[in-house]
Amino acid sequence: METVWFMIIALMIAAYAVLDGFDLGAGAIYFGAARTADDRRKILRAIGPVWDGNEVWLVAAGGTLYFAFPLLYASSFSGFYLPLMMVLWLLMLRGIGIELRAHLENPVWVGFFDLVFCGSSVLLAIFFGAALGNVVRGVPLGADGYFFEPLWTNFRVGANTGILDWYTVLTGVIALVTLTAHGALYIAVKTENELNQRVRSVALWAWRLQLILTIVGLIATCYVRPMVLDNYKQHAIGYLIPLVVFGSLGTMIYAIRKELDKLAFVGSALYIVAMLVGAAFALYPVVLPASTDPAYNLTIYNTAAARHGLTVGLTWWIIAMILALAYFTFLFRMFRGKVRLEGEGY
């Protein structure tokens, strides 16, 4: 049962990364790709009706994590106190950036909120990547299952880590590059003509960096935490995951070159899911490794809620998920197709 919830939460986080990832990426490429005011409006229109729903996946994944693994939630959220609070502030700024810019036509007002939107999107992508890096690298857990990390210490990986060190900065940059490509490809799907061409070339550049950084990141991860290979050695089926990672990178470049935007976007989504599943596979059954003593590792077994609650939860979770998928299918169908600016739109 604990394993089932581990997989469910991993998939919810992957769904969040794929969905909110494209609107974070759209924010990151905002100034790079959009040259005119109309371009910027098109990008915002492409994500406008869906970004809030995408962000709900974060809240829903967080709530599900709290429900299934209360100790993990308690320990990691208090241990990552400072960066999480900054994530909250960035999420707030980003939300108001997207929604409030159109309220006034004053160019300074619009420009200000454009900057807020782009800046918070970039920083959030980096923060989320660094968070994943922290979880893979491990944190200084004590015997009571708690820890507290300062924002940085000496930028080295070791027992006395901060949130930021060279490894987590690297994972942050990987996340930014990945979401840049992902967001650019989403906007490519949703736009035409010149803007479409421009975001595709952004995606091409991001893809090149993504390929290099993926290789660097894999090597760095094996160096920082050699145990990540244990599960792969025991269950050879795991090696399919890196195959999917590189297969999806191949799909992306093929599709970008052939101007098959939808296929390229699917490739990018697959890449994100495969990277996250790869990390989850490497960690299992640990959910938060201790950099201090492996005996203090938080695992799915020592952090889970009791069996009855988990069983009951599975019933309502499945019902809720079917409903949610139905709403979102409907929502994306209603707003499908390329965005145009004529008229009131939708």
Binding site: G53, F67, M92, F148
Partner: protein
Amino acid sequence: MDSALLVHRIHFAFTITFHYLFPQLTMGLAPLIVVLKTLALRRQDEIYNQAARFWAKIFAINFLMGVVTGIPMEFQFGTNWSHFSRYAGGVIGQTLAMEGMFSFFLESAFLGLFLYGEKRLGPRGHWWSAVAVFLGSWLSGYFIIATDAWMQHPVGYFKAPDGSLQLSSFWALLMNPWALWQYAHNMSGAVITGAIVMAAVGAFYLLWGKFEAHGRIFVRTGVIAGLIFSVLQLFPTGDGQGRMIALHQPVTLAAMEALFVGQSGAPLIILGQPNVDERKIDNPVEVPQALSFLTYRAWKANVQGLDSFPPDLWPQNIALLYYSYHIMVGLGTFFIAIMLVAVFLLWREKLFSARWMLWILLLALPFPYIANTAGWMTAELGRQPWLVYGLMRTADGYSKMVSAGNGMFTLLGFLGMYTVLGILFLFLVQREIDHGPTATPISQH
């Protein structure tokens, strides 16, 4: 008091109080917008659609503020109250996760359709999207109330070998009698906020002499809903909630009423200052035996006073609890009074020309917010010194790893951020009101 404990308490209290200024209007306006959309469909009159679209714009700004200030609430269970989460997460994780899964997905998906999809959906489809947003926001309210109700009156749990609490009965948690009363009382309070805000904006238009046709619709809808729900707020919901407290938290009731000495035929204090040091009420104005009657339906019934309980079980801030409760009740009575007069004038077809009454409706605008806030302060201060009533003290629940300094840093950050959000909110809502219901709809982006 331990300074870290104090910082974490203020951190949560401030962020939740500010947050709840927005959801109460979201939940209060949602059904009123459904009413306007229904009238538009029934009467085939474009003016009701304009009215609904106008409120949808305000709803959208308000909803956004609710979303961005709401995300920190879920986070804070882990960041600032991690010992509590470890202890109780096995139970309340259920309701918090269900809120995300059942209501946020529903609400966010259909809000996009409701705000941006009027043309694509057509009139009936658009009506349904308004209903879905209404249901989503009210469902969300239920899961949060069920969580709070469990902290007030824990049910459906067992103690696991590691000392944490775990779920034993899902339906006991969801059907907690405390939750049912608290939900009814809270939602009625939210509709009062929605109704008074709508009536106040309508009164503003009538007094200003612009958009008068719309202003009349707003005032009419607002005062009718306002009368119905301010009566429901007192009876049965307020009464039921009060008897829950009498039954399960008698010491809280004694502190709310500042009843220092238990007695049969206890009086109801209308005015007066609790003097905790001398354990008496200064300058009381009271109704004899009324408290006994309201609590137990018998004039001579014995009501337990604070003297029946050891002081370490008393809520710590009796004065603040007493004043919060009395402000809430006083304002609730005031709402019934003004709504009765307003509906009477509406019935006699004099309301729209009675400028003095329109001024009262306009100036009533802040008071439902104060009443709802005071009500929540009564609930939460009344629960002290417990975090989970009878099981975990507040002093044991906060994150011991997060120092007072770190807590203070982020509290100051929230204070600054929320000041800016509040100013932006008022500025943008004022602009929408200024442009009025006939303004061409702003393009979405």
